[in-house]
């Protein structure tokens, strides 16, 4: 606990919940129930009474009364806000309500630990083989479940022996001169430490099509802290990241392979954490998810499309926090430009993991039930691989379906003939 008392913190959050502009969106709710039909959690768990019930419906009567504790079952996937035809900020209101609840009732130590993604990367990379062995060890995972509350079967990242920045320092300088100017690359915690191959390939693709890629030192966006109700920590993280990304230039496009972290910078930090800084707005408007960026080039006839064929079926899942950016599914559009690649949309709402939700022992079964239609779809339609834009979703799909799941940029990398084939 920081210097602020629990009560002060709870009151501050409650004031935001009660008074901010987004509360006005409550009155736009016409009780059409569309959000409830789309909610992946209430579909599988009757203990969650649904986004409308705990949100626009209950919130009106709440004022200073305690928050309905069933809001804790909300996974923060954001689907309710995406589908709301009236523009109610359902997910944002429920995230705030959960933060109020956690500020009043206290936050489990587990939730403080699993949100420290950069720290995990920094700690695990130097001892990768040991860390991976521990995370693969049944006894260790059993102890972790009992002591910490992380489910023994929940997906865990695989530590790598080399971080992205270590690779960047050691690799030979690119020989091709940039023809299109510079871009800033945002890799996220996972790209820096766990999904290093995808991050390297993203850099190589951007360099191949003619960009200089600047990779400033960067920390965590705070999304995991935010979805666990730790708003102060999350705000500090995202503010620090914004400063770091701006050190590379204040007029360059920022490219990201971290789908959900992109959403944090584009809108969630503003709408959920209530950060209204100019710097955040600047980064939020300059950032592009990598497939979104490449499809913008394609629409402008500026993307080389002399792709080598990849003959296989590719089940593709668009993650919730990419869908909530309201840009469609650019990775599916991009992969469809590769000859031979048969991209099959999962049609599933959510994989269940929702960042850290599906790791928690009391949420694990709900998360698995949420993801089951997706896991089945992937198993039925795979030729050995599946694709998805965000890290924790990939780990969830891979762990629960047994199918290796990659970032779409890996396929673009291969189709440009860069390096060894994955598919």
């Amino acid at each position: 606990m920081s210097e602020k008392s629990r009560n002060e913190r709870a009151q501050g959050l409650r004031d935001r919940l009660n008074n901010e502009l987004q509360r006005m969106s409550l009155d736009m709710c016409v009780k059409c129930t569309i959000c409830e039909t789309a909610c992946p959690v209430s579909a599988v768990n009757p203990l969650f009474s649904g986004p409308k019930f705990v949100g626009p419906q209950g919130e009106r009567f709440r004022d200073d009364e305690p928050v309905d504790h069933s809001v804790d079952y909300c996974s923060s996937c954001g689907t309710c806000s995406v589908v709301c035809p009236q523009g109610v900020n359902v997910a944002e209101l429920n995230s705030l309500a959960r933060a109020v609840m956690k500020a009043e009732d206290g936050v489990p130590v587990r939730d403080r630990m699993i949100t420290q993604t950069t720290l995990m990367g920094k700690a695990m990379t130097p001892i990768a083989p040991i860390a991976n062995a521990v995370l693969d060890n049944k006894l260790a995972r059993y102890a972790m479940e009992k002591v910490v509350g992380v489910h023994r079967d929940a997906p865990m990242p695989t530590a790598r022996t080399q971080s992205l920045h270590s690779w960047l320092k050691k690799r030979p300088k690119p020989t091709k001169q940039p023809t299109r100017g510079a871009l800033v690359y945002f890799h996220g915690c996972a790209g820096g430490y766990f999904e290093v191959e995808a991050a390297k390939k993203a850099i190589e693709v951007l360099e191949f099509i003619g960009y200089e890629v600047l990779v400033p030192e960067q920390g965590c966006c705070g999304l995991a802290e935010q979805s666990n109700g730790l708003f102060e920590q999350a705000s500090a993280s995202v503010r620090k990241l914004v400063k770091q990304l701006r050190t590379a230039g204040t007029d360059l496009t920022i490219i990201s392979t971290a789908g959900s972290c992109t959403g944090m910078l584009k809108h969630e930090a503003h709408q959920i954490l209530g950060i209204h800084d100019e710097e955040l707005l600047d980064v939020g408007t300059r950032i592009r998810e990598i497939s979104e960026f490449l499809m913008e080039l394609y629409e402008a006839d500026e993307l080389p499309t002399d792709f080598q064929p990849i003959e296989m079926r590719m089940p593709y899942h668009a993650p919730c926090q990419l869908k909530s950016q309201g840009i469609g599914t650019p990775a599916a559009d991009l992969m469809r430009l590769i000859p031979g690649l048969e991209v099959l949309d999962s049609g599933a709402t959510c994989c269940g993991i929702a960042g850290t939700y599906g790791l928690k022992k009391e949420k694990y079964e709900t998360a698995q039930a949420v993801g089951k239609p997706l896991f089945d779809m992937v198993k039925e339609n795979t030729d050995g691989l599946a694709a998805c834009d965000t890290e924790t979703c990939r780990w969830q799909i891979e762990k629960s379906s047994g199918v290796k799941t990659i970032h779409p940029i890996v396929l673009v990398h291969q189709a440009y003939g860069l390096g060894q084939a994955t598919a």
């Binding site: 059409c32 129930t33 009757p46 009474s49 709301c84 584009k266 408007t285 869908k323 469609g328």
Partner: protein
């Protein structure tokens, strides 16, 4: 650049996008939420009242005033458009004849004319001499079986015959311990054959002898033949009665149409509003998507605008009664709502007829008939001249004007 951007994913937008894709056009379908289908009956009304109950909707279209959107499309084209949609969706989802209305019971026991309905509803056609057993589920609050049966029993069938109806209840939770389940919860449970069988057994035990057992429309979300399974197990015809939202039959239509649209290669962008447009002279060059992280232009050669009507916020009435169309600022048939709202709740409200005038091609025009944007077409509830909820014409207007817009863009080629 795409051939077309379609704005709105209600029945009109989905129909336009599918028709364009079937003609080989590249399409982006962009929408804030799903359109009205989740709130609909899951049937296709063409014309139910004009103002008396209509038996032959296409014939009745011929006598509508010239300002009515159906009149502008024409009875033959309306019938053709609805038949095309029915063929796309297939007889597991839509059956019936656009030239003839069927009369179906509603969730308050009134009798509602519609043109196409789902096969699970058809045994409920209200004809003289029929005996209904209306069976409710205790856990579902929006299916008042006693009220439905009571109202049917005191009604005369449209053919003049008498009706018999009684009610019964079953007590069968879909999920243990759930206090207030939605119809969708039950429909999802019915996708499991074993649950549907348990349900049928419970219904058979209370339904008694009747020509048809009327049930809440919860017979399967994905599995479309649950009604057949239940009817076989009960040994009597069954009919689904559509319920207040969330509407399972409406969701079935939405899911099927969206899947077809996506399978046809349409780019689908959900969750952001269209807030404006760019133009070159009168020609629309792009619409502005208010995505997270800033505006994104969606460029295309043609645009189909299918945002719905007042109820969707597509036509805005401000606190002083000023009426506007906020995206393109299109000319409307009225600018002041004050004199258009009547004091009688059930009376006609001319406000609901306010909308965009179009030329014969479906392009918005000003009061003098001049086309506003040569490559912009409107479809569905935004078009002026129909009080859709009163006439029961909304679905037909949506489908017919969507097909018209798509065919104008493709030059009529299929």
């Amino acid at each position: 650049m795409k051939d077309a951007v379609v704005i709105g994913a209600g029945l009109a937008g989905l129909t336009a996008a599918l028709r364009l894709a079937r003609a080989g056009k590249s399409v982006t379908l962009v929408t804030k939420g799903p359109g009205g289908l989740h709130l609909s009956q899951g049937t296709v009304d063409i014309l139910g009242y004009a103002p008396d109950r209509v038996a032959a909707p296409l014939e009745a279209v011929g006598s509508l005033p010239a300002e009515h959107p159906h009149a502008s499309v024409g009875a033959e084209a309306v019938g053709g458009a609805v038949s095309w949609l029915a063929a796309e969706l297939g007889p597991d989802l839509l059956v019936g004849d656009p030239a003839r209305n069927v009369n179906l019971p509603t969730a308050v026991g009134s009798i509602r004319p519609t043109a196409l309905a789902q096969p699970s509803m058809m045994a409920g056609e209200v004809t003289g001499g029929k005996t209904f057993s209306v069976v409710g589920i205790k856990q579902i609050k929006d299916f008042p079986a006693d009220l439905i049966a009571g109202n049917l029993a005191r009604s005369t069938a449209p053919d003049g015959g008498a009706l018999t109806a009684r009610s019964a209840w079953i007590d069968l939770p879909a999920r243990k311990g759930e206090a207030d389940p939605t119809p969708l919860t039950y429909a999802r449970a019915m996708d499991d054959e074993a649950f549907a069988a348990t349900f049928a057994k419970a219904v058979a035990a209370v339904a008694g002898k009747a020509d048809v057992v009327a049930l809440p429309a919860v017979l399967g979300a994905k599995r479309l033949d649950v009604w057949r399974q239940v009817a076989e197990l009960i040994g009597t015809d069954v009919c689904e009665i559509p319920m207040p939202p969330p509407s399972v039959p409406g969701i079935r239509l939405y899911d099927a149409l969206l899947a077809k649209v996506r399978d046809a290669g349409v780019r689908f962008v959900q969750g952001s509003r269209i807030t404006g447009f760019e133009s070159d002279g009168d020609t629309v060059t792009s619409v502005t998507l208010a995505a997270a992280g800033g505006p994104r232009p969606l460029t295309a050669r043609s645009f189909v605008f299918a945002p719905g009507g007042f109820e969707s916020g597509a036509v805005d009435v401000d606190s002083k009664g000023g009426i506007t169309e906020p995206v393109f600022g299109l000319p409307l048939t009225a600018s002041d709502a004050t004199p258009l709202i009547q004091s009688v709740y059930w009376g006609p409200h001319p406000l609901f007829e306010v909308g965009v005038r179009t030329d014969a091609a479906g392009r918005p025009t000003d009061a003098g008939g001049a086309v506003v944007h040569p490559n912009l077409y409107v479809a569905g509830g935004l078009i002026a001249g129909a009080e859709r909820w009163r006439e029961k014409s909304g679905d037909g207007v949506a489908v017919a004007t969507a097909v018209r817009a798509a065919d104008q863009i493709t030059g009529g080629s299929r």
